[in-house]
Symmetry: C2
Subunit: 351 residues, 2 copies
């Protein structure tokens, strides 16, 4: 299988005619269209890429599938959105660790029908590379193949860097810590829900500079600068990204930190797309919708937090508690003060 | 989608019952069964893994798909072989750069039918982890999903390390350099061919300590120690791995180095499984078969090379030449001295 790590010149002698080498060549050209992250000593073109983090830095590594029929569908998602979302999934994990992104590696398998449609691939790469430029991350390698089925298959690997021992983790929250989230919740689920319940494809375009992001599902904004500032200014005692839905992700944070938590529902910062729905729907989207790619983090009780960071509002949504036998991990506090257990109901992105 | 990077404890409160979390838990347990590579500061259990290369080391990164129907089929390949091969593809790239492997990240999507068959996953992990132990590489993270089709989908990311500026590359061969390969050629194609032309499944088991490897297709042996010795002893002027077939891979090396090359066919070290075939078949397997996962490397003319390295024979198979207009990139020299162009015909692993 030809890897992205292959000679950069077209090969007139033989495999040049193959669709797959032309495919690789398009990706290579798109990858070299921006400034290369200086950490990359060798990008596409050999058996492997070579990266050099700065002295005193450790590496942050994450991989995420983006599979047609699981994470997106071709009739609902424009290729630009699929490219953007494929990269955003990995970048959000890098943001959650407070890391500086370095390099992305893209494994991409296209069905036979699409492999002969350069327009689709170019639009996918447009969405991918546009976000890569914004995030200052370089496409440094990957793999290509023909998909064995009619599904587009992508897997993204992201590498980032942080100074030794400073990466934010989800396992370090302590009872008494305050619980915060960034930006707005429920927007991605509300936008997806609106798309699924309307006939015909909607193909919005990215508009990253607007806040709140009008297309949180199709073009999510990973909180990279914000995550790095949380780490640099030592504001967070623990952090993770909100990819599976607040109820599920907070359960993960609590289990990793061996704590419990309570959320005050009235404090949840609803995305305007969610807030436009019934109160019940809006809460469901915010708690269980997933894919908001905001950050969930905790602070020590005495930490003074600014109202915004990197231009994004920070909202206190609850408190970390000591775990107790026979008590739920998560408790929700309604506007009238009623307390009840909150079960994790997130995670299935495309139902 | 639940990532491998999730809480390590089962979650009795909710997603615990889901098949997918049980799936992740099996992988996590398999991953923690061996000694962890000390470069891994944080493995499975957070948004991302944290790796710390030694000071003065740079990172080597490669990703490779292993897709059912493209790289393997379920009726021909036992799950142990699929697990082994998935990891071997990435390790061979690390070997080709002369690097020390650090960590593997596995993205794995299983069809619904298999996700409820823990025996298949356990056997896959047995093959994967067994090779990981031999190679001293840790499974440090990844992603899981349900496959959108009835195909098993895997993507492997491998990270390795080398001292600054010492990684072997394919772009540094010079005219006059001698051309070598490690081990034996054509064995993987011969074994696959024998399997395809015999009814019924053959399910060999790994026997890594035997040389030549009796199952070069089902359980290939990445040349990790050999690659590191080539780098440490400064024996190679360029190197790459033989994954797509000698004719195709040498073309890649020549294009990357802007040189030409000639191969003496009589010198090719045929694997016993290839040598048992007709001369014509044996040559075809050795030149175009692919997936031998040996190393192809060049040496400066004055370099004195041992006959074996890390217990594996090194065989001179040709010479690097200056490129000339209207001359083929590759020339094959038959036993009788006849010269003819050699076209790249490798790369399609499963025809």
């Amino acid at each position: 299988m030809p890897r992205l790590s292959q000679p950069s010149r077209p090969e007139p002698s033989a495999p040049a005619q193959h669709g797959e080498l032309a495919f690789i060549e398009r990706i290579r050209r798109a990858a070299s269209s921006g400034r290369t992250n200086p950490a990359i000593r060798l990008g596409i073109g050999d058996d492997a890429a070579i990266l050099r983090p700065k002295p005193g830095e450790e590496l942050i590594v994450t991989t995420d599938f983006s599979l047609e029929g699981r994470h997106f569908t071709r009739d609902r998602h424009a290729p630009q959105s699929i490219g953007h979302r494929t990269l955003a999934r990995g970048l959000s994990d890098i943001a959650a660790m407070g890391a500086r992104p370095l390099a992305a590696f893209l494994s991409l398998a296209l069905p036979k029908s699409l492999a002969r449609d350069p327009a689709w691939l170019d639009a996918f790469l447009e969405g991918f590379i546009s976000l890569a430029h914004t995030a200052r991350v370089s496409l440094a390698g990957g793999d290509t193949s023909e998909s064995p089925s009619d599904h587009i298959l992508a897997d993204i690997t992201l590498l980032g860097a942080t100074p030794y021992g400073t990466a934010l983790r989800r396992s370090t929250a302590r009872p008494g810590d305050h619980l915060y989230c960034t930006g707005w919740l429920g927007g991605a689920a509300a936008e997806l829900d609106a798309t699924l319940n309307h006939s015909g494809a909607t193909h919005p375009t990215a508009s990253a500079s607007v806040s709140p992001n009008p297309h949180p599902h199709f073009f999510p904004t990973p909180r990279l600068t914000l995550g790095q500032q949380l780490r640099q200014r030592k504001l967070a005692s623990a952090a993770m990204d909100l990819s599976d839905g607040l109820s599920t992700d907070l359960t993960h944070l609590c289990h990793a930190s061996r704590v419990a938590a309570e959320i005050e529902l009235a404090r949840l910062p609803l995305h305007p797309l969610a807030a436009a729905r019934t109160h019940e729907q809006a809460l469901d989207f915010a708690l269980n919708g997933g894919e908001d790619y905001e950050l969930l983090f905790t602070t020590k009780p005495r930490t003074k937090l600014p109202r915004t960071l990197a231009g994004i509002p920070l909202t206190r949504i609850g408190t970390i508690l000591a775990p107790r036998r026979n008590q739920p991990t998560l408790t929700q506090v309604a506007a009238d003060g009623t307390r009840s257990p909150l079960e994790p109901h997130g995670w299935e992105h495309l139902r």
